[in-house]
Amino acid sequence: MSEIRRRDPRREWIARNRLHPEHLSVLAEQGVGAASEWLGPNGVVRKNPHAIGFIGPNGVKRIDRSGAQQGGQAAAEGTRAAQDSRRNVIIEAPAFLVAVVPELSGGRLSGHDKDLLGLARHLADADPEHPGAVLAVVFGEHKEDAFGEAGIDRLLHLDDDAYVGFAPEARLAALSAVERELAPRHWLLPDSPLGGADLGRRLALRLGERPATGVWQIEADGEAPLGWRCTARGAAESLDIQRPLPRVALALAECAEPVDETRHAAEPLSLAEAIPSALSRIEDLGQVAVDPAGVALAEAEFIVSGGNGVKDWDGFHHAAKVLGATEGASRVAVDDGFMARDRQVGATGTWVTARVYLAVGISGAIQHLQGIQSCDKVVTINLDPGCDMIKRADLAVIGDSAEILAALVAKVEQQRGGQRDAA
């Protein structure tokens, strides 16, 4: 059958108009209505209510009284279109490799990583005759399952205890092994404090390259050795340096658009030779417990925020302490004097960037939601299942805040107690 749906506006109009003399015959022709409505043996019209209607785009059953049921088909097509919109790309024999070492903060590709992968694709796909492949080198455990969507063709996952924590020497040894074996044409790292800024500079010097740091733009340039020219920030953000793109580049966030039209293979890869273990002169003793109350709200990783729905403030403070979270508040809680002014989250307070934001008894007024735009995961405890915070939340628990916080505290303490016994 042809994919193109032909429409007959006149018939559709008749199908909608129940009073039209041809209404029934048109419906019968469309194959709808026939099964849901028939003339019974005693001359009474019988209806089957289950046979009518369709599931709307939001998962709610809708009944279109015209019987034409156009919404259902359109919605189904819409989801199919959304699924098919990414083109699958497989690069069998790449002409060269572009190696990317993502920072993977929190075990997932960050926005910065995705921008960087977009840049890598830009370099790899410049010549459609000889496409390159993007190789991602990932250290340690991760929780990411969309490597292909981010534009990765080959994935080298190095999972070893040696790479956990601050292990620049072990990671550098691994990257040197990649260089020896695969010899990528480009090395790209994010110029971010956690990930690439340190490792990238070490790598560049090990390879004897003078890296470009703070790169935010690249353009094709026939005269440059690698065929590209880059613009980089220098001198405390006050200079733009234009230079030929070196082999190792450390790029800033938003250096390119992330990949959104293609899906790549993210084919696992392994190294043939074993990575020599590096002599380590730096030992990581682990993270230090910092007082969460001393961490600035804007950069706190885990925030427990209380609003008008918190009645038991002692319990709230205790919960924040046990969870090791920084405390935040909505404006009402601040105005009522339960929390300090500098703890207010929102348009007139602080814009927070937490990885997990636990909103307790906060309704989600727009001024508050603005302040939590860049939070990764929002969890909310609220009595009202219809409030705006629930629409924003990744996990919402409907119930009384005091009870749920107390249960949460009990669970965490029980778990910690168990660990201490085991140790």
Binding site: A81, S85, G107, K143, P168, E169, P193, A197, D198, R201, R202, A204, L205, R210, T213, G214, G234, A235, A236, S238, L239, D240, I241, Q242, R243, E254, R281, I282, L285, G286, Q287, V288, V290, V295, E299, A300, F302, L323, G324, V356, L369, D376, K377, V378, V379, I381, K391, R392, A393, D394, L395, A396, V397, I398, G399, I404, L405, A407, K411, V412
Partner: protein
């Protein structure tokens, strides 16, 4: 008895900074923090010695800036005098190798020139010493091993042990520098020794221009139909795919929250 803590030899590498608004020469913020860290170490470990080192040209402006460091309580600064635009790394590496200190402290990035933050890494690679970046504090130095705190994003700290001699770089997380006193700064001495240096050919070929404003990223909505475009434009807050637990007991709710918090790894 207290464990044996000897003093350490510290060299602080300082540069000429640039005021972000007026563009005038000043002591560089990160380098001054590095010096503050060294001075704190001197107080903490009696018998420590701090020396200041700078490689670059000698001029009126740069001298005033360098005296800013001396005003923090030092008598001398060693100046390796080079022509403008030459590479500071070989001169510094040579000087450090000739009389190796135990700890070298640098800022993470210079405020002038390329400002790529490569210098500590290049020195570490040349001298073969370990390097720790983003230092927040030195906790103790014992038997040739320093225990330090490294600053992580989001106000977190990580404790590391590093074998000396080592190079450490500091950024904004290190303690704030004290004020520079004008009188002592005038009286202190700049010990200049001329060194031969190669000009930085590569840098001379690059095009430098004042930083342009970076283009703002546009929110591009790729939607096939008008309905999708309208939805994207009118969306209040994204989401809607979240899980809602209704009618569950407090325990079950707490269990679900705990699972999410643990999966994100924010619970310590």
């Amino acid at each position: 008895m207290r464990p044996e803590q000897q003093g350490v030899e510290v060299a602080v590498l300082v540069s000429v900074g640039r005021h972000p608004i007026t563009g005038r020469a000043r002591r560089a913020d990160q380098d001054a923090r590095g010096l503050e860290l060294a001075l704190g170490l001197e107080r903490q470990l009696p018998g420590s010695r701090v020396r200041l080192l700078h490689a670059g040209p000698r001029g009126e402006e740069s001298e005033a800036a360098l005296r800013g460091y001396l005003g923090m309580g030092l008598d001398t600064l060693t100046l390796l005098e080079q022509a403008e635009g030459s590479d500071a790394i070989p001169a510094l590496a040579e000087h450090l190798a000739a009389a190796p200190p135990q700890l070298v402290i640098t800022g993470a990035r210079a405020e002038r020139g390329e400002g790529s933050g490569l210098l500590p890494y290049a020195l570490a690679e040349r001298l073969g010493w370990p390097l720790v970046n983003g230092l927040a504090a030195v906790e103790k130095v014992e038997n040739g091993v320093a225990t330090v705190l490294q600053a992580l994003p989001r106000g977190q700290r990580r404790r590391l042990e590093v074998r000396l001699p080592a190079i450490v770089s500091v950024d904004g997380a290190a303690p704030e520098a004290r004020q520079s006193a004008f009188g002592p700064a005038r009286r202190a001495e700049l010990e200049a020794t001329p060194v031969v240096a190669e000009p930085d050919q590569e840098l001379a070929q690059w095009q430098l221009s004042p930083a342009r404003k970076r283009p703002k990223r546009l929110k591009i909505v790729k939607a096939a139909s008008a309905r999708d475009r309208f939805k994207a434009a009118a969306a209040k807050a994204e989401g809607g795919s979240g899980q809602v637990l209704e009618g569950v007991s407090a325990e079950q709710g707490a269990e679900a929250i705990l699972k999410l918090i643990e999966a994100e790894g924010v619970l310590r």
